[in-house]
Symmetry: C2
Subunit: 270 residues, 2 copies
Amino acid sequence: MTELVWQHLPADDRGLAYGDGCFETLRLTPGAAPLWSRHRARLLEGAGRLGIPFSADEADAALTAALSQAQDAEAGVLKLILTRGSGGRGYAWPEPAAPRLIASLHPRPTRPQRDYTDGIQAGLCAQRLALQPAFAGLKHLNRLEQVMARREVQQAGWQEGLMCDTGGCPVEFTSMNLFAVVADELWTPAVTDCGVAGVARSLILEELAPQLGLPVQVTTRPLSQLDAATEVFACNSVAGILPVRKLAQWVWPVGEITRVIQGRLEQRFE
Amino acid sequence: MTELVWQHLPADDRGLAYGDGCFETLRLTPGAAPLWSRHRARLLEGAGRLGIPFSADEADAALTAALSQAQDAEAGVLKLILTRGSGGRGYAWPEPAAPRLIASLHPRPTRPQRDYTDGIQAGLCAQRLALQPAFAGLKHLNRLEQVMARREVQQAGWQEGLMCDTGGCPVEFTSMNLFAVVADELWTPAVTDCGVAGVARSLILEELAPQLGLPVQVTTRPLSQLDAATEVFACNSVAGILPVRKLAQWVWPVGEITRVIQGRLEQRFE
């Protein structure tokens, strides 16, 4: 049975020791988590691939507990960290594992409206993403690459930073997925060797793009692919969709497809 | 100033959230930590490369506090986890960072004496190590690869598991470094693209091998290099040196060079 904690946790938690777990960050509306089914699916997939016993019922119970707390706090964001729980001094899995779920509520970060209407300026991070198919796609707790890349974003004064894999192909922004319109098709990098399979990304790929009759390409492509892009945007489930106006040497207009998908995503939170 | 904690930590610690930190596991003797200068050097190098403000004086103060606790506990192992401390919901570094050091004392794991005299049997892990020069060599908290590899060791009933990088070259065991004697020279894989620069490993490379007049090669080599090995051993600072008798299709005798280095390492703890 998974233990739910809010404020403190034992120092022998394996999430701390090894990043042995995964997490979800959800945007809440009053009394609801609109994209919960996708967050839950990814959390369960992460637990499954890491071998952490955790069920959909346990996830639902945690969400219910969190939403009840959120009513008082007027919180806009829920973060759930699932770890393999406490366990020894060593890599070996505790048997049986007693997973721990660490919940926290946060205000939704405020962003200037112009980021949504006029777009953001991003840079290209020097920090690369290593190719590791075993954990690709998961929102696991081994995130030093993102921590170091985000530092570049802070220091350069960018609003986001694009990360390439160690082969030089673009994968994602530090905390958002990358989409581009190329030859009237929607393209986003594959996350089979590294990167996070974002919840907003999967919503776009599986629901919004098909609804709009928009063909989608999910493939690894070189950075030069951005030369051919006519629109570029960044997305995650908390921030929504941000047009990218500028990235390194590239400049794009805020495009029509970006605007339509942006509106469709926001409808999910109304 | 770094906060020292023992039992519990706040749930917003970045070590938990992102594996944003590094750790050391030290073998203690009564009232002392014989390889402290090497552990401290690696901890400071990790802090420096990750941009966590942490000084040698703070490290020494933590060791002193731990050794004073260890007197009562008759502990044989001290684990120190250094994190960037508490900080927000997002990859951005807190400014200024208030690092946290989580200390814990453990009994030294008991191992049958025959592991030291007759050697251990190891297997070859399917889990690979991704190539990530940014963090190679460090004992950072992003250790999912080792967690999953250790599971293979548990399930197969091996005593250790050798991990290769994603290019197929051997790097290290799940929690020990790899050494082999090849053509009367000592060889250990480079840890410039992945792997941990172990404290026992550095002691062997920088002190013990030179004292014995033994040439050392630190290079990435294919797995077939093991065909040419006449002795193989695994090492870390807690367990010491374990001869490897069997690994996948390979079988080796417990060799003379292994025995001599094993003895020299143990002298450090007498």
